[in-house]
């Protein structure tokens, strides 16, 4: 029985780590601009698909991955420059629709470029799964967890130790004030999109061996990432990680113990429950209404 539980837990943590990485991307952009970027999933897709096509060109895997992640980052910059920046006065919902339009556009391009088929990215290391106390774990899951941890630590260092990171944080706190002290907000926003897209690209590459990859893989993963970010509390890095892991574990446990038919419904009910008691998610900032 314990091995069963452990198996569900492993499964949940692997999926959850994926969601967490995506949620972190949402959080970054949300923090810098208060935009919910529905095209976040497309960064993942680009990461995975570009890796596949660079490898097909005969590039060695590490180089292919690096290029793919950079391509994803470039896409993030272009998105901010040409879709978000020109619409700075738009309503929240309007911005959401713009990012939805962008995601359809990017997906359409990917489909033209790479076709509609699913592709495999090989495991980074051994295909042989690891067995622990009667449960098994894919080696790629360890890569997801490992790279996830590295990314989180890197982000923490980035925001606390570097000028650029601090500038992004400052902009998220108060645009006006940061402009006064000489931070170029547009530049900072672009950086936020860049980092977020790089993050998405990395997530896309590390999960591709598990989930496969195709031009439309970003839709569902992006949505799950948004869900994770909202459970954790939009704008909270810790929240994104915890929210992602929670969502993954709840899905796996629900599929294992309750009903596989309704596991997604269970996950969504959990969100409603969390928001019911904590209207700003688990770690969302408490805001006093100022009037």
């Amino acid at each position: 029985m314990f091995s069963e539980f452990l198996q569900f837990l492993f499964t949940g943590v692997t999926i959850g780590a994926t969601y967490a990485l995506i949620a972190l991307g949402f959080t970054l952009i949300y923090n810098a601009s208060h935009v919910i970027n529905f095209a976040q999933g497309e960064f993942l897709m680009i990461g995975g698909m570009a890796t596949v096509s660079f490898m097909a060109l005969g590039l060695p895997m590490p180089l292919a991955i690096t290029l793919a992640v950079l391509l994803s980052g470039l896409m993030g910059v272009l998105l901010q420059r040409f879709a978000i920046a020109p619409a700075k006065k738009a309503d929240v919902v309007t911005l959401i629709i713009i990012t939805i339009g962008a995601s359809i556009f990017i997906r359409g391009l990917a489909q033209l470029l790479w076709g509609k088929q699913y592709h495999v990215v090989p495991n980074f290391s051994s295909d042989e799964p690891i067995r622990i106390l009667g449960a098994v774990m894919n080696t790629q899951s360890l890569w997801v967890l490992g790279i996830g941890t590295v990314v989180v630590v890197a982000l923490v260092l980035f925001f606390t130790r570097t000028m650029i990171g601090k500038a992004i944080l400052a902009t998220s706190m108060n645009k006006q004030a940061s402009r006064l002290v000489g931070i170029k907000t547009q530049f900072v926003l672009m950086l936020a999109f860049l980092v977020s897209a790089l993050l998405g690209g990395i997530a896309g590459v590390v999960v591709a061996p598990i989930t496969f990859t195709s031009y439309d893989i970003g839709i569902m993963l992006g949505l799950k990432g948004f869900v994770a970010a909202a459970i954790g509390g939009l704008g909270s890095g810790v929240g994104a990680v915890v929210g992602g892991l929670c969502l993954g574990i709840v899905e796996a446990m629900a599929a294992g113990y309750l009903s596989s038919d309704y596991k997604d419904a269970v996950a969504f009910s959990m969100i409603l429950l969390v928001l019911f008691f904590m209207p700003r998610g688990l770690f969302g900032a408490k805001v006093v209404e100022r009037v």
């Binding site: 198996q7 492993f10 020109p86 088929q117 699913y118 989930t211 195709s214 796996a252 294992g256 596989s260």
Partner: protein, 386 residues
């Protein structure tokens, strides 16, 4: 300045749109119009994509060879993106605006069924490329289909299991149309054959890990064989998870993954699994003298030469659909809809990629379960078992 132009462009879009809709329709009356709506993009694109490629390729080929009844074929097709409501809209457009003579299409059961009321009302021959048994059972006057039904697939799989002495089965299925209908048929057939489904779990099309569901099957007492009914990338993930969990029970998939791309995705995890499939995947294993051999070999060679990717069973459905339509048109000697329908119903002994079709007023599918061959994955390739 660029901004102004763009803004004007955006403004013009709305007006252009309205104008464009009103100018649709009106084509020359000369060619025979074959209408098609397929799920070329979206979650069922691996059905619609090879289907469309097949139709395009053979319509072109037929026209090069002089067409049908001395008239060229014109293929009018739309992408329903796997959405049944769009499928219905496009069916309406094909029938009422494009005024096609026959429809070959409908990648998914949902898309097909959503269009059936229109088709029946308009009285236009419709050859569906979707799987579920409800499409032709009960028989609908104007509706035919080329793939074997999911009920046949279930029968074929369960028979093979029974032959090998397995009667207690663990079932895992997708929650999409294909998986859900397949699950229902499997439950029914199992009951009829005196077999027992001891575990019954599902996964949704976008899931990325099915380990939890498989763990439950593994921990169910008495499971002797496992069947996965589903299509898309899901079954490939199931296959990999199955392997990772070290599950050694005999493993079956449905015809929903009968394609080489499945093998590519699942890799060595697919080793040893069985499924009911078209001989298309094993053209060299078909005995010489089998009437299907040449047809299958040619289709495979032509498709792969033209598109540079491996054939799938689904493209074969479209091939058969188009050829049945052509046969019926020729037999009817005109595009008269009732005559074409009657001709379709009268087709006997047409050998296609999928199998031998013998239509009748009670059977608008015309295939028998033996047209499914049981295949096994051995050394990364398909091997004909039965």
């Amino acid at each position: 300045m660029g901004m102004t132009i763009l803004r004007r462009m955006a403004a013009a879009t709305g007006i252009t749109l309205l104008a464009a809709v009103f100018t649709m329709s009106a084509h020359a009356a000369d060619p025979i119009k074959i209408g098609s709506f397929l799920s070329v993009t979206g979650p069922a694109s691996f059905l619609g994509d090879p289907e469309l490629k097949t139709l395009e390729m053979y319509v072109e080929q037929i026209n090069e060879n002089g067409g049908v009844l001395g008239r060229p074929l014109e293929l009018i097709h739309y992408d329903d993106q796997g959405n049944a409501s769009s499928a219905r809209s496009f069916a309406s457009r094909l029938i009422r605006s494009d005024r096609v003579d026959i429809i070959v299409g409908g990648s998914t059961t949902g898309a097909t069924m959503a269009s059936v009321p229109l088709v029946e009302q308009a009285g236009i021959p419709f050859i569906s490329l979707a799987g579920a048994v409800v499409i032709t059972d009960p028989v609908k006057k104007w509706v035919f289909k080329t793939p074997q039904s999911d009920r046949m697939a279930a029968e074929r799989i369960l028979e093979d299991m029974k032959d090998r002495g397995f009667t207690k089965i663990g079932l895992i299925s997708g929650t999409g149309g294909f998986g859900a209908s397949g699950r229902t048929q499997t439950l029914n057939v199992a009951k009829r054959m005196g077999m027992e489904i001891v575990a019954d779990v599902t996964y949704s099309g976008s899931d990325t890990d099915m380990t939890a569901q498989l763990t439950n099957i593994r921990n169910t007492k008495g499971v002797e064989a496992v069947l996965n009914f589903g299509f898309g990338q899901g079954p490939a993930i199931v296959t990999r998870n199955y392997d990772q969990l070290g599950m050694k029970l005999p493993f079956y998939q449905s015809h929903g993954v009968a394609s080489d791309s499945f093998l590519r995705l699942a890799g060595k995890a697919a080793e040893g699994l069985r499924l009911p499939g078209s001989p298309l995947l094993v053209p060299e294993s078909i005995p010489e003298g089998d009437p299907q051999k040449n047809i299958v070999r040619n289709y495979k060679a032509e498709y792969e030469a033209k598109w540079g990717q491996s054939v799938s069973t689904f493209g074969g459905y479209a091939y058969d659909g188009l050829m049945l339509a052509v046969n019926a048109l020729e037999a009817a000697g005109s595009t008269d809809k009732a005559a074409v329908r009657d001709a379709l119903e009268g087709i006997q002994g047409y050998v296609g990629v999928t199998g031998e079709f013998n239509m009748s007023p009670d059977d608008h599918n015309g295939l028998d379960p033996d047209s499914f061959r049981i295949l096994e994955v051995v050394n990364g390739g398909w091997v004909l078992i039965d």
